[in-house]
């Protein structure tokens, strides 16, 4: 299954930020998004994840195949690491969380409350959630923030295993993970500031 974006325009707060974006993502491939802050990397990922509709253009092959990791990790502070991951595993119907715990060395922390973890440990638990979803397309927004070099290596290994299994991934990141991935600079797709396409997404106007 291929993820295909065709002539996509995405908007934030009613203003188009990226326009005319087309890409294909085959299974087994990773795509790294680059571009200056505010260019629309997060907006693009949220649009592909289905959290907001595109202004125009089409997204094919995303329905029910996406796992999205935002800036926030989506962990409940008052649940333990294992409880957090088990909940997501049940939601996505995955059998167990052990591979995810192992991949991010979370086994010693499994009964620790997520609220008592350090920022990097939280991030690892948040990334482990991607593995328990069992979804083929990972959308990762700055996945390596607050990770140390060992944890970045863990993440790179997990991502590589995911790609080898026929999964694919789109990452917004600025560091080099050392994996084979295409890079897409979003700067050329930036929407002109005056290109206000009558694009108000205000639902109640």
């Amino acid at each position: 299954m291929t993820l295909v974006l065709q002539d996509l325009t995405v908007a934030r707060g009613g203003l188009p930020v990226l326009t005319g974006l087309s890409l294909r993502l085959e299974s087994g491939r990773a795509l790294i998004l680059r571009g200056p802050n505010g260019v629309g990397k997060t907006t693009l990922l949220r649009t592909i994840a289905g959290l907001q509709p595109p202004l125009s253009g089409t997204i094919k092959g995303a329905e029910d195949r996406i796992a999205y990791a935002a800036h926030a990790d989506g962990l409940k502070a008052m649940l333990s690491v294992a409880e957090n991951l088990t909940f997501w595993a049940q939601v996505y119907g995955s059998p167990n969380i052990t591979p995810a715990l192992d991949a991010y060395a979370l086994e010693p922390l499994r009964d620790r409350l997520a609220g008592a973890l350090s920022a990097g440990q939280k991030r690892r638990a948040g990334l482990a959630r991607m593995m328990v979803t069992g979804r083929p397309v990972w959308l990762l927004d700055e996945p390596t923030v607050s990770l140390d070099t060992d944890a970045v290596a863990m993440f790179a290994r997990a991502l590589e295993a995911h790609l080898t299994d026929g999964g694919s991934a789109i990452l917004a990141t600025h560091i080099d993970l050392g994996i084979a991935a295409e890079t897409l600079d979003l700067t050329p797709y930036r929407a002109a500031p005056d290109a206000y396409l009558g694009a108000s997404d205000e639902a109640f106007l």
Binding site: A49, Q52, Y68, A70, A72, G74, K76, M78, Q90, V91
Partner: protein, 218 residues
Amino acid sequence: MRALLIRELRLALRAGGGFGLGLAFFLILTVLVPFSVGPATTLLGTIAPGVLWIGALLACLLSLDRMLALDFEDGSLDALATAPLPMEGTLVVKALAHWLTTGLPLVVAAPALGVLLSLPAPGYGWLVISLLFGTPALSMIGMFGAALTVGIKRGGLLLSLLVLPLYIPTLIFGADAARRGAAGLDPTTPLLMLAGVSFGTIALLPFASAAALRMNLR
């Protein structure tokens, strides 16, 4: 769905989860009313159904802004929205968890607190029944308000203002059923209206809430 319900209940029961907040408020209100009104038993008995209903409603209101705001802040709402659960179902389960941890304890505690307000003997059964029928509507309407205000910082004030008018029919019919029961009159008509309000909100508001939440997540 069941996993979500268990997670919600577990979160509510853990420290800082908000379980007991509504109950404590309900208790404080009904303990203080006799002190402020004075030791007039007949007067207290007359106002008891209304006071208990207002107490239950405000106790419910108190916990509404936690329903979605906490999930929004830690990012789990985004993750839930992209999960394979229908948004409507997610919100119904969350409202159910809210009712189980806020509404149901109020229903159970109400007879005991009725004693403090010298509620007349025939009123206890009808008070419990009216609260049992009415509090699910309070949770579901509250979920709708929470979904409308979820992205707003400190949205609690707006949430209260939005939700209070929607609570009025529930309050009128609920308190009326309890009052008529306590006075020995037939409470069937207000009870039926109350049940109608509850079933109506449970049938319609999940869709409205999910639509509002989708707008707010954009």
